[in-house]
Symmetry: C2
Subunit: 357 residues, 2 copies
């Protein structure tokens, strides 16, 4: 069936710009857009994405439910915040109005191991209303599908080690602070490294209860285990401050970080599995020094050792393109909170979105 896919955009910030343009360029009809920022509410989405007027204005997020009811998109794309609890309401609104939803929210990629209760609730709700909820983005492909795919060419894997980095300057002050940028070493140890020495069970308990918000790699390791049919037996995270040898000015924080003080952090998540494969993933988020750039390096240890690098990946664009590529599978999927490890791999969309449904 060839049809025009109707979409809505929830969150018109940095990502929304790409998401709306990509969806339009792939032939989707964007029928609604929401944000809570007064400076974009009322703006034509065409102008918001840097083009000509379209006649569709960005609405206040408070009117989302009403407008979604009226416009009945096939899919709503949610690009607002990073935890499932924070996007819960928008997911619920979508589900209740029988609209599939997909989010850039980092936790939404695989919330089963960090917010299992909430994820189960949303799964129930989605099934009740016959819709699919999920999360995607850069990690979906570059920390997930890519790794699972290459694993298929290894004879033996004993360990998978991944390192990814990003500049916290690019994502606003909350994220920079959350990564410990600008703290003293002592403050970092107290505020961010305070769970480093807890065992796997204690950490999991704190994560599940919501008291400890782990890094995105916590979810990623869960995704990888599920996708690769591995059974995790323990998972721990350590947060280590990153530093620079010289003073470093952070525009986002509006301050200079002294040489040797935390510029951000490296979160290392180590998962041991019943099958004997260790997954060790490291997520480095800090204020970049001159010459730093985004990295995405993965090594398989075993036979043969194999390392793959993605050079200076354009994380934001890849997040948005990969998410848009998920739309056909999302529409065709069975109902529920279906994480992307359960969906077929994306294909390059050389035709309109509707031709893939």
């Amino acid at each position: 069936m060839t049809k025009t896919v109707k979409t809505a955009q929830y969150g018109c910030g940095k990502m929304g710009r790409y998401l709306i343009r990509y969806m339009m360029e792939k032939g989707a009809e964007v029928v609604a857009a929401f944000d809570n920022d007064p400076s974009v509410i009322g703006m034509d989405i065409g102008e918001y994405i840097g083009g000509g007027k379209t006649g569709l204005l960005i609405s206040d997020s408070r009117d989302a439910e009403k407008i979604l009811q009226e416009t009945q998109p096939d899919v709503c794309v949610i690009a607002t915040t990073s935890t499932l609890e924070e996007i819960r309401e928008s997911l619920e609104i979508c589900a209740r109005n029988r609209i599939n939803a997909i989010s850039t929210c980092e936790e939404s990629l695989y919330p089963w191991n960090s917010s299992p209760d909430l994820c189960r609730e949303l799964d129930q709700l989605a099934k009740e209303y016959g819709v699919t909820l999920t999360g995607s983005g850069y990690p979906d492909m570059y920390w997930g599908v890519l790794i699972d795919t290459l694993a298929g060419s290894m004879h033996k894997i004993t360990k998978i080690k991944g390192v990814s980095s990003y500049n916290v300057e690019d994502y606003g002050i909350a994220l920079a602070k959350g990564h410990g940028a600008g703290l003293s070493t002592a403050e970092f140890a107290k505020q961010i490294g305070n769970h480093n020495n807890l065992g796997a069970e204690e950490q999991q308990k704190l994560v599940t209860s919501g008291e400890y918000v782990p890094s995105y790699m916590w979810n990623q390791n869960g995704w990888l285990c599920e996708r690769m049919d591995l059974t995790p037996i323990s998972q721990v995270q350590k947060c280590v401050p990153t530093t620079h040898t010289e003073d470093l000015y952070s525009e986002t924080l509006g301050m200079t970080i002294k040489a040797g003080n935390p510029t951000g952090m490296s979160a290392i998540v180590i998962t041991e599995t019943k099958e004997g494969i260790t997954i060790e993933t490291e997520c480095i988020g800090n204020v970049y020094a001159p010459g730093d750039f985004d990295r995405n390096d993965w090594t398989f240890y075993g036979e043969p050792d194999t390392t793959v690098n993605v050079n200076r990946p354009a994380t934001v664009e890849l997040t948005c393109a990969n998410l848009v590529g998920r739309i056909p599978a999302l529409i065709k999927s069975e109902p529920g909170y279906i994480t992307t490890d359960k969906l077929p791999n994306n294909v390059y969309l050389s035709k309109k979105l509707g031709e893939y449904i």
Copy 2:
């Protein structure tokens, strides 16, 4: 169904060593092995792979048909030579005896665009006897599945550029000579670069007729187009000599290549497609200078530009592991000459081969 997969190994050279070990370590029962080299015929396969005796001896390839009839393996792995015509007989023997076959033969990965008539014949034969024939190896994953997979995260692709290199010293004198190593520049132009200036139609005609044996990238571009649902409208190859700034001794050739003379070649295949995507793949095979190493670099141009590298890939091991990973899909596939673009992606085999069937 859990069963023990029975396999045979046709060709006990450099690859066979890994293939047999990998199959055994994945729980397959190797029931036959063949070679035409008197120095390995009669050798216990356990000793051949560097372990203890197994009781199974390597047989003369001339007895292959009889032994295959008797042993009835599920799959025969053919690791002998590089063109479909050269492995034709072994494929036919397998098909006639209702044994699925998979080869490391480079052309066998996608012979539809280089030996279409022979491929159709084999396809018919395979269908007649209800078996599946195919080819796999390093290119299957690292020039194929990997590229198709990552393409799914791009918004727009205008061009895919791949560069892969290997040391001709590793593959015997025939291959080194075939790559022009040791020729003078004038001899190279006459013997290897002689089709460089022909148009796409003329080149295709020569390739189809068997007069011009193209590089592996000729087949690869065909595989990628088929897998990515792209329609090729023209395809040309240029062979350019590679050189080194100093004299370079080649052990395989037993000679010193003078500075500036061909050390091998770079074959560049350019495919234009109806969908506006250009696939430009470059295969560099030459006598390595000190410090050279295998490369596998691919760039997607479009939005966003993205480059992926595999660092110093272990081509031989990855060829064998990836091929063994294809065995379950091969057994489950419909009959015919089914190139791997039509098969599901490999998964990492954490269990025995038989558990995937």
